[in-house]
């Protein structure tokens, strides 16, 4: 399946885009999506275990994703 993974802040600046399209297996987990982003957008220097959100909630590496999910890579947050 294809997914458009959302990028923000420093990740978006590095990629030059606010999302990146990746192809992953139909039963992909978050970890596979992260690996696909590393390949598709090498300019984004992701940490070893980047934060990922699925449908607006933080999701661990083993969470499965579906084509209808909203997947986002979350750079280190700095609110306040």
């Amino acid at each position: 399946m294809q997914l458009d993974v959302l990028l923000f802040a420093s990740y978006a600046d590095a990629a030059g885009a606010t999302s990146v399209r990746v192809s992953v297996s139909d039963d992909a987990r978050v970890s596979e999506v992260v690996q696909a982003v590393r390949t598709a957008a090498p300019a984004v220097h992701l940490p070893a275990r980047p934060l990922v959100a699925v449908n607006h909630r933080y999701a661990g590496a083993d969470v499965r994703v579906t084509p209808s999910d909203e997947v986002a890579l979350i750079p280190p947050v700095a609110g306040g």
Partner: protein
């Protein structure tokens, strides 16, 4: 309870008024503002950028957790987005409770949780014309349930929390 992102200046008096009631003898208010230096570099202003739907959800969740933990639903959290000049309020938190310890502890807990979990980023604009995303290097582990511990840091006053 009321939480959310706002695109216009935060009305601090209005937020305090929202949580005030005769039953609550304590009203605690925290306001984070844009500071004029960061790591020794002179700052001109800060651009706040959010993953809006998730930030809104996290702010509401933090308010719910604080309500359960500290025993009050008189909570308001507002976080500003967009470009802010020096001294402008970027975040305001108001909590009212019959007792001051709960009101103050809840306010402190909320700002710490917000800084750890809410997907908001700041692009600092420096006086020399350069810009940089502020990253505290807490990507790993931050933001997951259980990372924000309510008791952490409570009772101590030496940790800086006013850095907007």
């Amino acid at each position: 309870m009321r939480t959310g992102l706002v695109g216009t200046p935060i009305d601090i008096a209005a937020i305090a008024a929202d949580v005030a009631s005769p039953a609550n003898g304590a009203l605690s208010l925290f306001v984070g503002t844009v500071r004029d230096t960061n790591d020794g570099r002179p700052v001109d202003g800060i651009e706040y950028n959010a993953y809006a739907p998730m930030a809104e959800r996290e702010l509401a969740e933090i308010a719910r957790e604080a309500a359960a933990q500290f025993g009050t639903t008189h909570i308001v959290i507002e976080h500003r987005t967009g470009y802010l000049a020096l001294g402008e309020a970027s975040v305001a938190i108001a909590v009212a409770h019959p007792r001051r310890a709960n009101a103050m502890d809840a306010t402190r807990w909320i700002i710490e949780a917000l800084k750890q979990r809410v997907p908001i980023w700041k692009l600092e604009h420096y006086t020399d014309g350069t810009r940089q995303w502020v990253e505290h290097g807490r990507g790993q582990g931050a933001g997951r349930p259980g990372v924000v511990r309510g008791a952490e840091g409570r009772g101590s006053s030496d940790r800086e929390v006013t850095d907007a």
